[in-house]
């Protein structure tokens, strides 16, 4: 199908972005919005292209984190054109997002704003304890990734607010990471996913589940899960009882495999 008609303009200045009118939408890579528009599930009066805004096309290394501009593409991260906060883990995750043709245009900020529960960055950035920097008419605010997504395709972004950048904490080389996703076919959205982060140097541990019905779930008692005192199945069961998910076998298996990957790193 073809998209319903809309207008198009290219933003020239970041300040224009906080003055969107009713029915206007940002577009960067168009890899999530595009299909929805082509299927006419989404209509817009105007698309404002932010893919080439210099302010969103940065990737800065700071002492404790790396700041990825919202319009950095998956392929740029895959190809190592951006600084690496965490032992190549983001690079590897980026390389397995959808297909190369999609990665060449899709952006990290766009993926988060779209907030598909099964998307890679949604779970990976949660696993890495990222922060999302938002700019709105009232200025900038930073939101922890686990507070950013509130439901399927739903975030805390307000009217006229946009994602400026994503801040990913740096991890020492001694830290270990596991990320597993189950897909029906290579490149498809995940059916279940999980991450495990073991950063002993900073005393930071995180186990997270993705591809749930809503936002990723950061599991309580991560250290107990990692050390084996709390089995993956029990951990998921306890945490999900609140969320009423009917079947979580694949999520348990994804967590088990992510744990295996991360612990593999520990032995090295």
């Amino acid at each position: 199908m073809k998209a319903a008609a809309f207008d198009f303009s290219r933003a020239s200045d970041i300040n224009e972005l906080t003055a969107l009118k009713e029915g206007e939408k940002f577009v960067a890579g168009n890899q999530s919005l595009g299909p929805m528009m082509n299927l006419r599930l989404v209509r817009a009066n105007r698309l404002v292209d932010i893919a080439t805004l210099p302010a969103l096309r940065k990737a800065n290394e700071h002492s404790n984190h790396v700041e990825f501009g919202a319009a950095v593409t998956h392929a740029e991260i895959e190809d190592g054109e951006t600084p690496d906060p965490a032992n190549g883990w983001m690079k590897k995750a980026a390389a397995n997002i959808a297909h190369r043709a999609v990665r060449n245009r899709g952006t990290i900020g766009g993926s988060l704003a779209h907030a598909d529960p099964a998307a890679d960055w949604v779970i990976v950035l949660t696993g890495l304890d990222a922060k999302v920097a938002l700019i709105g008419p009232d200025g900038e605010r930073k939101v922890n990734i686990e507070d950013f997504i509130t439901g399927p395709y739903t975030t805390v972004l307000k009217e006229n607010e946009f994602i400026a950048s994503v801040e990913v904490p740096k991890r020492p080389t001694s830290a270990c990471w596991g990320y597993w996703k189950f897909m029906r076919q290579v490149g498809e959205f995940a059916k279940a996913s999980a991450t495990v982060l073991i950063d002993q140097e900073n005393g930071f541990y995180r186990c997270a589940l993705g591809a749930l019905e809503g936002p990723p779930l950061v599991l309580p008692r991560p250290l107990d899960i990692i050390e084996g005192d709390l089995g993956p199945k029990k951990a998921v069961e306890d945490a999900l009882s609140v969320r009423k998910i009917a079947s979580y076998d694949m999520h348990v298996a994804a967590l088990e495999r992510a744990l295996e990957q991360a612990k593999e790193g520990l032995r090295l």
Binding site: A4, G34, V42, H99
Partner: protein, 391 residues
């Protein structure tokens, strides 16, 4: 909507070309319809099949998900190009020798993906080849011939690629066309007066559907809740975004339900048949609704029953079987529908209690509910039984 088209200039296969395109025109349509370069094929137009893959500034992209207006000054290489490119010549020859194509529909996209694969993974083994080509669907070859062709090119003295990724362009801003209204957004609501029972799905047809079971505990007696539940009008008024358009004999209801999830919004119009059993405090609804804009259909059946619980309150048990088809179903995965249903149920529970206790129903609200969506609709249907549902 009258969206002005603009003139776009880009380099296609090494030649500068200008043409007119509306903002909504994607690159593949621009090439095919405006420039008559029909070598670029369109399969799904939603980024799944890979048939439209081509090079923009030396990088493979889906041309169905790339707006032509965003390609101003870009360098495009289509299957008609690669003139005198030794690598593409070798790939084409290998495809021919290894039967890497049959009907040829996927071939233009496949060639672009293979070209990029060989450039980026000169050491690729079969596993890498298959993974890298997983975004390009071929229904004829079983991929074996394609993989063999790629291996063959990699095994030999692979020629240098002449199409290489350029720096990512930073284009000076141009303010485009004057704003126009959102086309088709003000669709005229037509009542579906022609629905008859025979349009509704049967239980047998829904047996392969997705099942959703929920219960809702309320602080109101079961009798009071039943007074609401047996009246479709009242139930509908408790459902955010839903309204009844008409009610005919044999409990056939027609209605509308608006739902919005994230950027998606749908208006399901449809009919449902409701039957209730006053003695058992139970009922069921079978219905079907359609969202015209997305051409998506939601159909399902809902069984519900009310029982008293220990503390003087009541609980409503709901079992629904539904089937969502059409474009929306791609975004309405069962888990997401469950989440939406749960959110919706919470709001419906509050409204039911208000209605049963005589307080004004908070939701006369025919506004659509954010965050609920697909499931919602289904639930709505269920609940209300009736009306359309949708998404």
């Amino acid at each position: 909507m009258n969206t002005a088209s603009t003139t776009i200039t880009m380099s296609i296969n090494g030649r500068e070309v200008s043409g007119n395109a509306e903002p909504r025109t994607h690159l593949a349509d621009f090439l095919r319809e405006e420039l008559l370069l029909t070598g670029t094929h369109l399969g799904c137009e939603q980024g799944v099949c890979g048939a439209c893959t081509l090079m923009v500034d030396g990088r493979q992209v889906r041309s169905c998900l790339t707006l032509a207006v965003s390609c101003e000054k870009a360098e495009i290489e289509t299957v008609e190009g690669y003139n005198r490119d030794p690598l593409m010549a070798e790939i084409r020859d290998a495809f021919k020798r290894h039967h890497g194509l049959q009907c040829g529909y996927c071939t233009p996209g496949m060639l672009a993906a293979v070209y990029d694969l060989i450039r980026r993974h000169p050491e690729a083994d079969e596993d890498i080849i298959r993974r890298q080509l997983s975004g390009n669907l071929c229904r004829c070859t079983g991929y074996a011939g394609i993989v063999e062709a790629v291996k063959d090119v990699l095994a030999g003295n692979t020629p240098e690629a002449t199409v290489t990724p350029g720096p990512r362009a930073f284009i000076p801003i141009t303010e485009a066309k004057p704003a126009t209204g959102g086309e088709e957004s003000g669709e005229v609501v037509r009542l579906e007066t022609g629905s008859s029972l025979s349009d509704l799905p049967s239980r047998a047809q829904l047996s392969e559907g997705i099942e959703l079971i929920r219960s809702l505990d309320l602080d109101v007696s079961s009798d009071a809740i039943w007074q609401i539940l047996k009246d479709p009008q009242k139930v509908v008024s408790c459902i955010p975004g839903a309204s009844l358009t008409s009610q005919t004999d044999h409990n056939l209801i027609h209605g509308v339900c608006k739902v919005a999830v994230g950027p998606m919004a749908a208006t399901f119009r449809g009919s449902a048949e409701v039957s209730t059993n006053d003695e058992a405090l139970s009922g069921n609804v079978i219905g079907k609704g359609k969202d015209r804009l997305s051409r998506s259909i939601l159909e399902g059946c809902l069984d519900y029953s009310v029982s008293a619980n220990d503390n003087g309150g009541s609980s409503i048990k709901i079992k629904m079987l539904y089937r969502l088809s059409g474009p929306l179903s791609q975004f309405g995965r069962p888990a997401i529908v469950e989440e939406i249903a749960d959110q919706l149920l919470k709001q419906i529970g509050v409204s039911l209690v208000e209605a049963a206790t005589g307080k004004t129903t908070a939701s006369n609200s025919h506004n659509s509910v954010g965050g609920i969506s697909i499931l919602l609709k289904s639930l709505l249907n269920i609940l209300k039984k009736r009306f359309d549902r949708k998404l």
